[in-house]
């Protein structure tokens, strides 16, 4: 229909951040915003993503209200300096969330949520990453991702999803916003834990034993975050840095060679 998106081009470094986020936990759905631009052919280009922090965490669903989304978008657009390398301004063009252990298709709630977001912005798209799926027989793990929007067949009828073609566009170097978003995750988790702990700790009727217990719970939870998130992320960053250093040396040699060749012509 008119106003709907024709396709989504997701840069591979943005895909990397989405995947990192989706694979960070199998216990609950995670969510974030997609940053990019829409061209004249109604193709949505997603250049980076921003991890969203939820103040109300529910294990079974993840969506936030359109007002919250709008507020988060504005905040993101301001604070993250979303202009890309060419200086073109970027904006929030969609949302993504994860489906751990469940099918990649959007639920009725997801479709309705997407429809509401589309009321603010017709070109808004939804991405879903399904992970932690395993075929027990072949022991093959699987990850799926899909892109959709919502349509209403007639006024007043139920919203339905429509499929939007999505292509992951190669982008060998990792963009600045993507890197910053990637390292936001452990910070967000830590803040969420600290908030929870402080709320509990401020309860006045708790005896010292309870407080000591809660202190160890906090320690244990933070250790889990360091072990499952911060540690592997730091490892990946160090390996990436090493890889880039090698590439720089190789490319530098090649550049000298070509410069000499050009000079001799």
């Amino acid at each position: 229909g008119a106003g709907l998106v024709s396709a989504v081009h997701l840069e591979s470094d943005a895909f990397l951040v989405c995947m990192n986020h989706a694979l960070s936990t199998e216990k609950e759905e995670v969510m974030g915003l997609c940053i990019g631009e829409v061209d004249t052919n109604r193709i949505v280009h997603i250049h980076s993503v921003i991890i969203l922090r939820r103040s109300d965490k529910r294990k079974d669903r993840v969506e936030i209200s359109p007002e919250q989304l709008s507020a988060a978008s504005t905040e993101a657009e301001i604070s993250f300096e979303l202009a890309d390398m060419t200086g073109r301004p970027m904006r929030v063009v969609g949302w993504y969330h994860s489906h751990p252990h469940i099918t990649v298709w959007p639920s009725h709630v997801d479709v309705r949520t997407q429809a509401m977001y589309q009321m603010m912005d017709q070109g808004f798209v939804g991405l879903i990453f399904s992970c932690f799926i395993e075929d027990k027989n072949t022991k093959t793990g699987r990850v799926l991702y899909t892109c959709f929007q919502s349509v209403q067949a007639q006024k007043g009828s139920e919203y339905e999803r429509i499929e939007i073609p999505i292509h992951v566009v190669p982008h060998e170097a990792i963009g600045k916003v993507c890197l910053e978003s990637a390292v936001e995750l452990p910070r967000i988790l830590c803040q969420e834990e600290q908030d929870t702990y402080r709320r509990i700790h401020s309860l006045t009727h708790l005896d010292p034993i309870t407080k000591i217990h809660n202190g160890s719970v906090f320690t244990k939870n933070l250790c889990s975050q360091m072990s499952a998130i911060s540690g592997p992320l730091l490892q990946w960053l160090e390996d990436r840095l090493e890889l880039n250093k090698h590439s720089i040396i190789k490319l530098q040699k090649e550049k000298e060679r070509l410069t000499q060749e050009l000079a001799s012509l």
Partner: protein, 339 residues
């Protein structure tokens, strides 16, 4: 079948990184991933070396014959009997291209066959998050206890904060700070790599432009060979019955291509341009015995051997191409053709 307990553990970041590398490449990608074997039955993968990994644009989630051979060789070279082979394959889940699938599995050589072992993606969710106690037990005596209050100071700092909480928070903050620092370095390096790649692209284009400019400045196309018109005319004059001599194109074996032999009369003024030929023409009319001279064209020697066998000494130069022999006047060796 016996229970085989080996599993592969990989962090979500390492798995995402593998997918990222795969999506950035247009073809099958191979690589090595590092990790460690923990205990005898678990194999953990971090993002760096050991195991053999392959991304494939195929739909089968099975090892191909080539992959099996490579894997066996690697097991020998790395002296690692527990080497794991990991395979990732992408596919499209819908015709519209809206949904895509990426499957991954691991194989290990055990009991003379490749068996699938499960891959466990370690994440925060499978580390049990303990719940906080929101209410204390219903025994005020515990809160009033002398024993508890005496030992309390070991756990609490000034005020109501727990030492443990402060310590772990400091460590975590420091870790996040370290990560931030490495992240900035990675960002700088990514931009440096991008800049160098852009520089290389420009240099290559400049070089290409330079060569292209030179090419267009040449008058003749390098593909067309220039004909030696004088030689052609001389050969035509001296050996009118041997058109294969007026060849400009040889096969790989060194034999003339008859279809490409020159039959044009270049209208060269022989008396002016090639006076010595006329001399020779004149002497050829002598009754000197005709000798057969071996033609020393590369590749001709085989044909000549066959000729000798058939004992056909009276055959004159023919147009068949490969069996041509050259008649020369024995007295004028200096103008007999040698290639």
């Amino acid at each position: 079948m016996e229970e085989f307990n080996t599993t592969v553990r990989i962090s979500g970041f390492a798995l995402s990184s593998l997918m990222f590398h795969h999506l950035n490449s247009d073809a099958d990608v191979e690589g090595l991933i590092l990790g460690e074997s923990v205990g005898e039955e678990n194999c953990r993968i971090t993002d760096s070396q050991i195991d053999h990994i392959q991304f494939e644009y195929s739909t089968r989630q099975q090892m191909t014959f080539m992959e099996q051979v490579v894997h066996q060789n690697m097991r020998k070279i790395l002296s690692n009997q527990e080497l794991v082979f990991m395979l990732l394959t992408p596919s499209q889940a819908t015709a519209s291209g809206s949904t895509h699938r990426l499957e991954f599995s691991a194989f290990i050589w055990h009991s003379s066959q490749y068996i699938n072992i499960p891959i466990f993606v370690s994440n925060l969710g499978n580390l049990e998050q303990q719940d906080y106690w929101r209410v204390s037990g219903t025994c005020p005596a515990l809160g009033r206890s002398e024993a508890v209050n005496q030992h309390r100071t070991q756990f609490f700092c000034s005020g109501d904060d727990l030492k443990e909480v402060r310590n772990i928070s400091s460590m975590n903050d420091a870790l996040l700070g370290e990560m931030q620092k490495v992240c900035k370095e990675v960002e700088k390096s990514e931009r440096a790599v991008e800049k160098l790649q852009e520089d290389l692209k420009q240099l290559k284009e400049a070089i290409k432009e330079h060569y292209e400019k030179n090419e267009t400045q040449k008058h003749a196309s390098p593909d067309e060979p220039k004909e030696n018109v004088l030689l052609c005319s001389a050969l035509r004059m001296l050996f009118p019955d041997a058109p294969s001599l007026r060849t400009q194109t040889l096969t790989v074996q060194g034999l003339p291509v008859l279809e490409l032999c020159c039959n044009t009369d270049h209208n060269v003024d022989i008396p002016t341009k090639l006076p010595l030929i006329l001399e020779n023409q004149h002497t050829r009319k002598d009754t000197a015995p005709r000798l057969r001279k071996k033609c020393l064209v590369a590749g001709y020697s085989q044909r000549l051997k066959r000729k000798r066998k058939t004992n056909d000494t009276s055959e004159s130069a023919s147009d068949s191409g490969s069996d041509t022999e050259i008649e020369t006047n024995g007295q004028n060796r200096r103008i007999s053709p040698t290639f």
